[in-house]
């Protein structure tokens, strides 16, 4: 594939091709709709190019293969969708505790349970607040286009290795399945950092490396936690968001991923009707752009959070706004995608003071 020229690609395939170009050395995964194109693409392409690709016997096995390969120093990725990501939670907690860099992708579908294969954003809490046991976080990136499905693979590997932490791309079935124009970054643009801690076989010249998450003395376990928390503090500087519209809009919409795109259409329709509406799109869901949300919500008449779930990110919006402005919520679930028209109704109600938070 040529560099620099736009291609028409499915989100899942753009992500898979980008992983190869980003120098991924190993992929372990298990099929699940709506992300199976990733493993299908990789099982066809990786043997012709470079690296390891392996269909694991389960998501539990896949995430622990990621643990092993990441611990051995490889640039490694797994992808799945909601139920599969649930199965991986113990492994993710171990990976965060062992401070192993890796890239995880959740192409979300509707839940709970087996749910539906249609797109949803119901795994926000799981991705952002922990998901597995213990005090840990991962950096969570939320793409809103096929272009970002590609770009965030590079960013994800880079951040993972910089901070020695798992990074998750939290996307959804619509972004995974839809085709858009995308310009892919060239191969070899992401250098490999030194990993002196990796278990590659102990030469005489250094002490043995071991990767563990066990700390039997409370003092040393707390020390590990303090170190992790320090790292999460440092990670706060990686906050990314996008403002679409005026800095001091009357109605501030807050939405991530696919819903942010729909919201920007709704905001455009509102502006045509004389309502000054803008969209703040968190790009990093962890770290969360609390300050930006607070800043832009301060002088608005109301804030509207739109999500494809029953109200998850809205809790962070409320934390950010801290009562300064009424915060409203519009959610669709089960694979239903909110239309710009139904969001417009909410915007109008906020602008006309006909609803109360």
């Amino acid at each position: 594939m040529e560099n620099g020229t736009p291609k028409l690609m499915k989100g899942n395939e753009a992500l898979a091709e980008s992983a190869i170009r980003a120098g991924m050395q190993a992929y372990f995964g298990y099929p699940i709709t709506p992300q199976s194109e990733v493993i299908e693409y990789l099982t066809a392409e990786v043997p012709k190019r470079h690296g390891v690709v392996l269909q694991a016997e389960s998501e539990v096995a896949a995430i622990n293969m990621v643990f092993g390969a990441a611990g051995a120093g490889a640039r490694v990725m797994t992808t799945s969708s909601s139920p599969g990501i649930s199965l991986m939670q113990e492994g993710i907690s171990y990976i965060a505790a062992a401070e192993l860099p890796c890239l995880l992708v959740n192409v979300q579908r509707g839940g709970p349970g087996l749910g539906t294969i249609q797109p949803a954003q119901g795994d926000y809490f799981q991705a952002v607040k922990g998901g597995g046991h213990g005090d840990y976080h991962m950096i969570v990136l939320a793409p809103a286009s096929v272009q970002e499905m590609s770009d965030f693979v590079f960013d994800g590997f880079k951040l993972a290795e910089q901070y020695r932490t798992p990074v998750m791309i939290l996307t959804d079935g619509a972004l995974g399945q839809m085709m858009e124009k995308v310009i892919l970054k060239p191969e070899g643009s992401l250098p490999y950092p030194e990993k002196p801690w990796a278990t590659t076989g102990k030469p005489k010249s250094r002490e043995r490396n071991f990767i563990t998450t066990l700390h039997m003395e409370s003092e040393s376990m707390e020390e590990v936690n303090n170190r992790l928390q320090e790292k999460y503090k440092e990670i706060q500087k990686e906050v990314r968001y996008q403002l679409i519209g005026d800095k001091d809009a009357d109605v501030l919409l807050v939405a991530f991923g696919l819903t942010a795109r729909i919201c920007s259409k709704a905001a455009e329709m509102a502006r045509e009707k004389g309502i000054n509406a803008a969209v703040l799109r968190p790009i990093t869901l962890y770290p969360y752009p609390y300050t930006a949300v607070a800043e832009h919500a301060k002088n608005a008449a109301g804030v509207l959070t739109v999500e494809m779930n029953a109200g998850q990110m809205v809790e962070d919006v409320r934390l950010a706004v801290n009562g300064a402005t009424p915060v409203h919520f519009k959610g669709r679930t089960g694979g239903m995608i909110p239309s710009p028209e139904e969001i417009l109704v909410e915007i109008e109600a906020i602008a006309n003071h006909t609803i109360h938070a």
Binding site: A26, V52, A56, A61, N64, G201, T213, L214
Partner: protein, 257 residues
Amino acid sequence: METRTINDIEMEVVYQKPETLTETQMHYCPGCGHGTIHKILMEVIDDMGIQDRTVGVAPVGCSVFAYNYMNIDMQEAAHGRAGAAATGVKRVLPDKYVFSYQGDGDLAAIGTGETIHTVNRGENILMLFINNAIYGMTGGQMAPTSILGQITSTTPFGRDAAAIGYPLKITELVAHLPGAYFVTRQSVHTAAAVRKLKKAIEMSFRYQDRKKGTCFIEIVSNCPSGWKMTPLQANEWLVKNMFPLYPIGDIKVPKEI
């Protein structure tokens, strides 16, 4: 008068600890097989001179602290997932020697899926399976390999097949898989048994060079604390009760030499 210290006497070294065993005092209970198995394993690594090319994976179980004793690069995997973690290591470091070191609960209960599929893929690793017929680390609960009638903290009236099924002979099971290259069952209850185990471990490392499949060694071991016996009683119990069910010997050997 001239005083002579022990250092002045020239002595022949007849026994020494392998270099790749650290100085750390082991936490294992008196009489436990883990210590002996650790030592044998490290002796083989010393003898073969492969410390710099070996990566071990020890998951949760009594041997979770193996990395404190083995002076090699190691990973501590989640309970049951050593097969998967070792697969991850070996796939990205195909020319390194990789082994997993797992208990019966780890390998044959919570990690059964990983065990079978690791062997079925013929991962070029050595899986060391320490069968002590009990969960040592968590205080003596029933293991998949506990024998019928065996009293444990969760089978207080003895293991009853009708209630909880039969002892799982997972070694025979994996031996059926084409991915298994060398499958053997050994023990460490006598000096002669230890020597045989050492040979089996050495062969398993050598076989990794051939890249022909998984080497799988079950070691019928003991758990004096969990079984509530003295070390001597434990070894006698092992011979009398475990060997009939878990007979010692090779189960699958490579055809070519």
